[in-house]
Symmetry: C2
Subunit: 206 residues, 2 copies
C-alpha cells in the first residue's frame, strides 16, 4: 500500500500534464496538428502511456475539454464574493465571466466545435460537455450577480451576457482585442446594472 499511493499520484500528475498539454496544443497549433503523437511529444510522455489513459485521439481531446471546463467552474466557485453593489458588482462579475469563458480554453474548444460543426459523431459527443459547462457558468453568474433568474427577462439577459462573452472570445482569436473588449464589457455592464435595478430594485442589496 505504501508503494501504491505515490504511483497513483504520479499517474494523476501525468494525466493532468497530458490534458493541459492537449488544450495548449489545440489552442496554439490547431486541430489538424494536434495528433496523439504530437501531444505526447509536447507533454514528454510516451505514446503508449497516453494510450493507457485515453484509447483514441477523440477520447483524449474530449477528456481534456471536460477537465478544463471543470477546472474553470472550480475557479469561478473559488472567486471571492464580489464586494460593492449596483454597477460595481455587475462590472466585476461580467469581467470575470468574460475572462473565464475566453482565453486558451475557448481557443481549444473552438477547434473542437469547428470540426464538430461538420462531423455529427463528434458533435454528439461534444454537446453534453458543452451544455454542462454552459449551465454551470449560467448558475454561477446568477449567484454572483445575486439576481433571480426565475424572472424570464433576467434569465434572457444573463444568457445574452454569456453569448456576448463568447462573441468577445471569438473576436480575440485573430487579434489581441483586450482594449476594445474592456470598453464593451463596461458599456454592457452599465446596461445590465440598469436593467437589474429596473426589474427588481432590491435584488442587489440583499
Amino acid at each position: 500500500m505504501t508503494d501504491l499511493q505515490p504511483k497513483q499520484d504520479r499517474s494523476r500528475a501525468t494525466r493532468q500534464r497530458l490534458l493541459e498539454t492537449t488544450i495548449r496544443c489545440l489552442a496554439t497549433h490547431g486541430w489538424e496538428a494536434s495528433t496523439v503523437g504530437f501531444i505526447a511529444a509536447e507533454a514528454g510522455i510516451s505514446r503508449g502511456a497516453v494510450q493507457h489513459h485515453y484509447r483514441t485521439r477523440e477520447a483524449l481531446i474530449l477528456g481534456a475539454l471536460e477537465f478544463m471546463f471543470d477546472e474553470r467552474a472550480a475557479l469561478l466557485d473559488a472567486l471571492p464574493e464580489p464586494t460593492g453593489t449596483g454597477l460595481d458588482r455587475v462590472h466585476t462579475v461580467v469581467a470575470g465571466l468574460v475572462e473565464t469563458i475566453g482565453g486558451e480554453l475557448f481557443r481549444a474548444a473552438l477547434q473542437v466545435w469547428t470540426v464538430a460543426a461538420a462531423d455529427p459523431e463528434l458533435r454528439a459527443a461534444v454537446l453534453p460537455l458543452e451544455r454542462h459547462f454552459a449551465r454551470g457558468v449560467h448558475d454561477r453568474a446568477v449567484r454572483l450577480l445575486r439576481v433571480d433568474d426565475a424572472d424570464p427577462e433576467i434569465r434572457a439577459l444573463i444568457q445574452a451576457t454569456l453569448d456576448l462573452a463568447r462573441g468577445l472570445a471569438l473576436a480575440d482569436v485573430l487579434t489581441d482585442d483586450s482594449r476594445r473588449r474592456a470598453r464593451v464589457v463596461r458599456a454592457w455592464s452599465t446596461q445590465l446594472a440598469d436593467a437589474f435595478e429596473g426589474i427588481s430594485p432590491d435584488s442587489q442589496d440583499t
Copy 2:
C-alpha cells in the same frame, strides 16, 4: 463583340456558382473536406476551370469569403428603412443584424478563422477582409438605428451588439438555437432602446 458578351456573362455566372459552392462546402463539410477537387465536383465545374479563376485553394476560399461579405453588405443596404421608433425599430434592426452575421456565411467563415487561429499566414490574409466586413456592418447598424456613434457609449453599445450577434451565431453552430436566440435578441433590444433613449432622447425621432 456580340460573341464576347455572352462568354463574359457565362464566365461571371460560373465564378459566382463556384464561390457560392465554396461557402456551402465550408459551412457543411468543413475546412479539411473542402479541397479544390471536392468544391469543383460539387459545383459541376472542371478543376482546370476553377484554377483558371483561382490559382490556389487559399485564393479560392478567401475570394469566396470576400464575395459573400460584399453580398451581405449589399443585402443590408437593400433593406427597407425600418419603420417605427424606439424599441420596435431597435428590435427590427438588431434582429436583422443578427440574421446577417449568422447563418451559412458565419459557419463558413468560422472554418477559416479557426484554421487561421493557428496559421499566421492565413490569419494575415483573413484579417483585412474581416475588418472591412465588420466596419461595413457597424456603419450600417449606426445608419439603421439612427444614432450618432461619435458618442463613445453608443459606439461601445453598437460594438457589443455585434459581439453578441457573433456569440449567438456561434451558439447556433452545434444545435438549432433559434428559439432561445429570439428571446435573447428581444431582451437585449429592450436594453439598447432604453440606453439610446437615455443617452440622446431625440435621436430616434429625427
